[in-house]
């Protein structure tokens, strides 16, 4: 969708047109879902996050002020939703861990490994997971990622550097 059309569509949705909002959702559902899946690596959870995010979008669409790209704003929303989910998820004592295991095993090893790395990132510091996902997976450049996360461009560069260094050092530890 070209930016002008998108802008139009958003304005119509903000004015309360259900059709426009529906079209907007339709166009962005996959983007949201994809990012949500990258975040949690489980289809059901990703669908959950996506639904939450769509509901949030319905509520917040009037707050979008056309100052930045819609996608920037949308990613912010998705990240917030995913963080909320993660926090709630960690509160749940993981009694349903057993139920998670089969699907865990069914997935190929690289997925499991990837999740381990992302967990490591969480332990290294705040903001690393989203930075990695935005830049390395979604292919944003540093400036765009910085805008989405509301930090300085140099922060993104530093985070990536820090992350690689740390990962390399933990890897070294594994080998030795």
């Amino acid at each position: 969708m070209d930016p002008d059309n998108l802008g139009q569509l958003i304005r119509r949705a903000q004015a309360g047109e259900t059709d426009a909002f529906s079209e907007l959702l339709e166009a962005h559902y996959d983007v949201i879902y994809r990012f949500a899946f990258r975040w949690c690596a489980r289809r059901e959870a990703a669908e959950d996050i996506t639904q939450q995010c769509c509901i949030k979008l319905a509520r917040a669409i009037t707050q979008f002020q056309h100052r930045c790209a819609f996608s920037t704003w949308l990613y912010r929303l998705v990240i917030n939703t995913a963080q909320d989910w993660q926090r709630q998820d960690s509160r749940h004592d993981h009694t349903d861990e057993a139920a998670e295991q089969p699907s865990e095993a069914a997935r190929d090893e690289s997925q499991v490994y990837l999740q381990q790395i992302l967990k490591q990132l969480d332990n290294m510091g705040e903001g690393l997971r989203e930075t990695a996902l935005l830049v390395l997976a979604e292919g944003f450049n540093h400036r765009e990622a910085a805008e989405i996360l509301g930090v300085k461009e140099s922060t993104i560069s530093w985070r990536l550097h820090h992350m690689r260094k740390q990962l390399a050092s933990t890897d070294g530890a594994h080998i030795s």
Partner: protein, 660 residues
């Protein structure tokens, strides 16, 4: 290290289930329709959309899905129904046989008496039996019947809903601005966080003659305690901080007249009402109050949490009302800016002069709760605005209003603390206003406010907002001294043991007192600070610690024998980095004080007694809630704003809550 790059790029993402997609779309469209409807209805109503988990329950129209998402309240209703049904059946089993065994004799009797009537008994018995049965059934079923699954009255369900989740109740209740003094809502499951603390122990003067602490003018604990007691629940022990309860009240101490020496200590030594043979040392410090002409210009940046959890009548709407009040107490030249943080973080209002009130009010009115919380980013944005508008002759302050949840982990609390400290050194201070409950993070708020040279206040009602932001606006906005530390050296010849009541989180090391690098509490214009020590004199037999067999009290200079101890107070004027010292001895003369001070001291003693009672202190002996009520009642003085009367009510409520 290219593993992560490769893995992320090659990650295999399974497509979403089309049904899930549909459900999500439908839910979002539903929400959209609701938001639109609310927006058309009235601008005030669009806050009433629900938050969190419940919206999903409401939005999923599919009955089968709803059954899967079985919540605690639906299970409760279901189980109540099942229980009722089984009680009924059990009742039948127990009572019927008993009645059946009783009825044959009565049939026999009929037979005997009415022997000449043809075949009366079987019919009569048959007519009798169902009747008995019916009575039994209805007798047992009636009270329970109301709760059987066949007839679940809507009110029961909704009550259960309300009891367990106030958010859900919010769907039904319109978000009208709160005007009532206290919202009586059932306590939800409590996720409020408080740091654990231990009561200060009794210390021997010989071992440790010096006691050092930082002042604390926060009042958050008292408001929180009040809120819990108004719900009929005793507050968690960790939520009770004696010093904050003491400092909630304004005491009529004598006021200093000189801005350069902005403090005047009022000291009294009285008998401790809860332990025979012990004394109470009362230290009251009143700060200098500014007149209207002396008030410096004020640059305020409000940092408001508008995350979904703030969507309660006692949160965001109360924040707005509180801000409205504060606007009224500012000068026309002062500026106000508003930053929000949540899903859509950003500046809502650039720094605007208070005389442009309409603009500020409009910006405030448009605020809405929704989205999640990202506290750290919001704080940075607020500080940037404060910096942009920095005036070194003005008071530059960020006021954070939140219900507590920051989207940051433990390691980042440290980072946030450091950030706030650096900004404090640049001259931008931070105050924290806490709202609501269920998610309240007391510990983090305390940390932030203490590091930002500000106050942390907990606002539960409109009248509390009035107290903090209007009556005590000077104190909250204009610091007259910072890093105020108190050090007491007791005279071992006179005082055998001492115990500081409260201030557990504010204790300092002895050497910190003279170290100007060590941060301590701040005092705003007109603030008063009160501290109480419980003393046991050397000639008293109420001592708790035995004398040491080997270390003899070395006889020191005996010319100070009429001194209890020596009080030292260190403070810095707001713009200075070198501290000043104020000192005076505490002597026998301090046992004789005028009646005004005596009254204030007695009231403070009642408050301290209450705080200790709530924390389950081991030093109170038989001092009861009734004693506290009597003491406070006798000493409440003029009590212009009714705070002390309210205190007495709270003690009564605590007494009742205790008995339950």
């Amino acid at each position: 290290m290219t593993d992560i790059d490769k893995l992320l790029q090659q990650q295999d993402i399974p497509p979403a289930d089309p049904r899930a997609r549909q459900a999500a779309m439908r839910a979002a469209l539903d929400e959209f329709a609701q938001v639109q409807q609310a927006a058309q209805g009235s601008p005030e109503n669009n806050r009433s959309s629900s938050q969190g988990f419940w919206q999903r329950l409401r939005l999923i129209k599919d009955a089968t899905l709803r059954n899967i998402v079985m919540t605690s309240s639906t299970t409760r209703t279901l189980f109540a129904g099942l229980a009722a049904a089984s009680v009924t059946v059990l009742g039948l089993f127990v009572v019927l046989p008993a009645l059946l065994t009783v009825s044959p004799p009565s049939i026999d009797e009929n037979e005997v008496i009415l022997s000449d009537i043809n075949m009366p008994s079987p019919q009569e018995a048959a007519a009798h039996d169902p009747m008995i049965e019916e009575i039994v059934v209805s007798g047992y079923a009636k009270p329970e019947g109301a709760r059987t699954p066949e007839a679940p009255p809507a009110s029961t369900v909704s009550k259960a809903l309300r009891a367990s989740y106030p958010d859900a109740m919010h769907m039904a209740v319109s978000a009208a601005p709160m005007t009532a003094d206290s919202v009586t809502r059932p306590i939800p499951q409590n996720r409020d966080k408080f740091s654990t603390q231990q009561e200060n122990p009794v210390k021997r003067t010989v071992d440790e003659p010096v006691s050092t602490f930082s002042v604390d003018v926060d009042t958050a604990s008292y408001s929180y305690v009040r809120r819990q007691l108004n719900h009929g629940v005793l507050p968690a022990k960790n939520a009770v901080r004696a010093e904050e309860m003491l400092n909630y009240f304004d005491y009529a101490y004598s006021t200093p007249t000189n801005r350069e020496q902005p403090f005047l200590p009022s000291i009294a030594v009285t008998d401790a009402p809860w332990a025979e043979g012990k004394k109470l040392l009362h230290i009251g410090i009143k700060g200098y109050d500014l007149s209207d002409q002396q008030k410096p210009k004020t640059n305020l940046v409000f940092l408001l949490d508008v995350s979904g959890s703030m969507n309660n009548p006692d949160k965001l709407p109360l924040v707005k009302q509180a801000m409205d009040m504060l606007l009224g107490s500012l000068n026309p030249d002062d500026t106000v800016a508003i930053v929000v943080y949540a899903g859509a973080a950003g500046t809502v209002l650039e720094p605007t002069a208070v005389k442009d009130k309409q603009k500020i009010v409009t910006a405030m009115r448009n605020l809405e709760a929704g989205g999640s919380t990202a506290g750290a980013e919001g704080i940075k944005q607020a500080y940037q605005l404060a910096e942009a508008n920095f005036d070194k002759n003005a008071v530059n302050r960020v006021i954070l209003a939140t219900d507590g949840d920051f989207n940051v982990g433990i390691s980042d609390t440290e980072q946030l603390k450091g950030y706030i400290e650096r900004k404090r050194d640049q001259g931008i201070f931070l105050s924290v206003l806490g709202f609501g409950q269920g998610n309240y993070n007391d510990k983090l708020m305390q940390i932030l406010a203490q590091n930002g040279n500000g106050v942390a206040a907990y606002i539960d009602t409109l009248s509390e907002a009035q107290k903090v932001l209007v009556q005590e606006a000077n104190a909250a906005l204009f610091p007259i001294a910072k890093d105020v530390k108190v050090q007491l050296e007791f005279n071992p010849k006179k005082v055998a043991e001492y115990r500081l009541i409260g201030y557990e989180t504010r204790l300092l090391n002895r050497e910190d007192f003279n170290n100007d690098k060590v941060d301590a509490g701040d005092i705003g214009a007109g603030h008063s600070v009160t501290a109480l020590y419980e003393l046991t004199l050397t000639d008293s037999d109420a001592k708790l610690i035995d004398d040491s067999r080997y270390t003899k009290n070395a006889a020191k200079k005996s010319d100070n024998s009429n001194e209890y101890g020596y009080l030292k107070l260190r403070y810095k004027l707001p713009k200075e980095s070198e501290s000043k010292l104020l000192q005076r001895p505490i002597t026998n003369a301090d046992t004789q004080v005028d009646s005004d001070l005596q009254r204030e001291v007695a009231f403070a003693t009642a408050v301290a007694g209450f705080a200790q009672q709530l924390t389950g202190s081991v030093y109170l002996n038989n001092f009861s809630y009734d004693d506290i009520i009597a003491l406070a009642q006798a000493n409440k003085g003029d009590d212009l704003y009714g705070y002390r009367t309210e205190f007495i009510q709270l003690v009564r409520k605590a007494k009742i809550a205790q008995e339950i």
